[in-house]
């Protein structure tokens, strides 16, 4: 159940399954996709705004369903994360949508959809979203995105390597995304089997002790003891949001301590997630990681 790679003239539909994004912030994204030769459509919820959600649940769920079932749509790009995908799980028939495999691209709150679609057997893309095209980025950011959607290698020459935490090489399906949403998915029907997987984690705006709590949850559920390797991006802003009385402990100290005894190849500072210059990485397909080299290599393509 792999999506098809995009060709010039294909249609990318932008949906807003989570929080709203001001229309004008999409302009640069639409301009870039159009310049690459793709047609761009905006789902109706992209223009809506209801509290911290872009439109109500029914409208957001319908936009995703329509995008997957419409044969004239070739890829589904999320406008932004924020919050809202988990509210849609009861309204989406993921198993049916996964039978119409399409590139589904986003990260952060979109992790909830990655886990659900990966559990249903469809690979997805942990990639930059509509909100990411407006600012100046390093060249690998757009190159990686373009490579992914056109079916070539997303790891771009010149992009940063990770730092090694636990040396070793390992192979497995790359699964994960935003740590908070991986935790929230535990116990639901929409979570893939992490046994033998390479776990991808990153987060933003979490206090240090909550990073600890989330990693502790993944220890206590057994997820961390099942995976074959761990690729960490960054816990963005965690070190700058300490309360004035809070201890001087960094996210790296917390992560290192919580992963103590896990003993699978592990690397951090891999360029993904809530950082300025992330790569766009397929999830749900097999990769090989080399922690000492700080590298990730895809063993298959996200597209047919």
């Amino acid at each position: 159940m792999k999506p098809k790679a995009l060709n010039p003239g294909d249609t990318i539909r932008i949906v807003a399954p989570s929080s709203p994004l001001p229309d004008k912030e999409l302009d640069a994204c639409i301009a870039k996709l159009t310049a690459w030769g793709f047609k761009v459509e905006l789902a109706s919820s992209v223009h809506e705004h209801w509290r911290y959600l872009a439109a109500n649940d029914a409208a957001r769920a319908k936009d995703i369903t329509d995008a997957f079932l419409d044969p004239n749509v070739h890829a589904v790009l999320c406008a932004r994360g924020g919050y809202g995908c988990a509210r849609l799980l009861g309204l989406l028939d993921i198993a049916t949508l996964a039978k119409h495999p399409k590139l589904l691209i986003g990260f952060s709150d979109i992790t909830t959809l990655h886990l659900a679609f990966n559990a249903a057997g469809m690979p997805t893309v942990h990639g930059i979203m509509g909100s990411y095209f407006a600012k100046e980025r390093e060249p690998w950011v757009l190159d990686s995105f373009y490579h992914v959607i056109t079916g070539s290698d997303p790891i771009i020459d010149g992009s940063p390597r990770a730092q090694c935490l636990v040396p070793g090489t390992s192979q497995g399906r790359l699964l994960g995304g935003c740590l908070t949403l991986i935790g929230d998915a535990q116990g639901t029907k929409h979570v893939p089997d992490f046994k033998g997987a390479i776990l991808l984690i990153e987060d933003v705006g979490e206090k240090g002790y909550r990073v600890d709590a989330r990693l502790t949850q993944l220890r206590n559920t057994g997820v961390l003891h099942q995976v074959a390797g761990i690729v960490i991006g960054e816990m963005t802003d965690t070190d700058t949001m300490r309360d004035k009385d809070a201890p001087e402990v960094t996210w790296k100290e917390i992560v290192q301590e919580r992963l103590d005894g896990i003993r699978v190849p592990t690397m951090w500072d891999f360029p993904i997630g809530h950082i300025k210059n992330p790569l766009s990485l397929p999830l749900g397909i097999r990769v090989e990681m080399d922690a000492e080299a700080g590298s990730l290599r895809y063993l298959e393509s996200v597209c047919d």
Partner: protein, 303 residues
């Protein structure tokens, strides 16, 4: 299973299973307990301090296990929450703790321990802690705390009732506590179980969208649907606005997410992180009348 009673002259041991605190924070509760006729002991590592934890996991777990194992200790009262109980799961023998029949008292991060002991049939007590009572509280807070220690579960005069969202009367075991710890337990070997139970939920300092997300976890896992009714406290100091995401009053989020399940439900029931909190047994049968905003216990706390 009823608890071992806490009699005049009995010892209550203070433990710190989660975050640290300074010694002065123990003064008020120690004096209150002594005035009630109890002896007070401070566990060996209760005043340890390592970053956001009161000692190593091994030290905190050892203090808990020792307090439950020591026959001269009648009840175990936590000094504060914060964070750290979930880290202790691999180090604690909950079966042994439950077999002691002793009261564990506390709330907030201690929710993790309440869940594990309640699952084994042992009642626990959702109560203010040393840090909670370091700050002045309304009279009913002290009254409720002292009465429950004596096994008197009658509602004290002056305690507020909950505000009805959905009317209805249900009976069942009382379970729950602090929302983020309830959801963190899901998928672990000591998970939240809600089937047929009166479900207490409160939290502190969450962002509005995270409150929504955690209630959505309860919905997506089926745990909300399985509960008999919802006794919601307060989502204390929920951030009013999160840049880039937005805001919404916590009451609206709770009503919108859990209200449509149609179960008896109140909000602002006095427990947890709000200013005035009752001391409430968990793991005991109670009768919840949402229209009246009351929770009345149907079985004794002590043997």
């Amino acid at each position: 299973m009823a608890l071992r009673p806490i009699l005049a002259g009995d010892t209550i041991r203070l433990v710190s299973p989660a975050s640290p605190l300074t010694p002065d924070k123990l003064d008020f509760i120690s004096e209150l307990l002594r005035n009630e006729g109890y002896k007070v002991e401070v566990a060996p590592h209760a005043l340890e301090w390592i970053d956001y934890l009161a000692g190593t996991d091994e030290q905190r777990a050892e203090d808990l296990m020792d307090a439950f194992a020591d026959d001269s200790v009648a009840a175990v009262l936590c000094t504060r929450g914060g964070y750290g109980c979930a880290r202790l799961l691999p180090f604690l023998d909950f079966d042994q703790m439950a077999n002691s029949n002793k009261a564990l008292m506390g709330f907030s991060d201690v929710t993790t321990l309440h869940l594990a002991l309640n699952r084994r049939g042992l009642p626990t007590i959702h109560s203010p802690m040393a840090l909670t009572l370091h700050f002045p509280r309304e009279d009913f807070v002290y009254e409720s705390f002292k009465r429950v220690l004596r096994g008197d579960l009658a509602r004290p005069a002056g305690a507020p009732t909950g505000e009805c969202v959905n009317p209805g009367v249900v009976e069942g075991e009382v379970v729950g506590g602090c929302l983020c710890l309830l959801t963190d337990s899901i998928g672990t070997k000591e998970p939240l179980e809600t089937k047929g139970k009166i479900f207490l939920i409160e939290d502190v300092e969450e962002m509005p969208h995270r409150l929504d997300a955690m209630l959505t976890v309860l919905i997506n896992t089926g745990l909300a649907e399985q509960a008999a009714g919802f006794v919601i406290g307060e989502m204390t100091r929920t951030a009013e606005y999160v840049p880039g995401i937005g805001s919404r009053p916590w009451e609206d989020i709770v009503k919108e997410r859990l209200g449509p399940l149609g179960k008896p439900m109140v909000i602002n029931f006095p427990f947890g992180h709000m200013k005035g909190m009752l001391t409430l047994p968990l793991g005991l049968q109670a009768r919840f009348d949402a229209a009246a905003g009351t929770l009345d216990y149907l079985e004794p706390l002590f043997q």
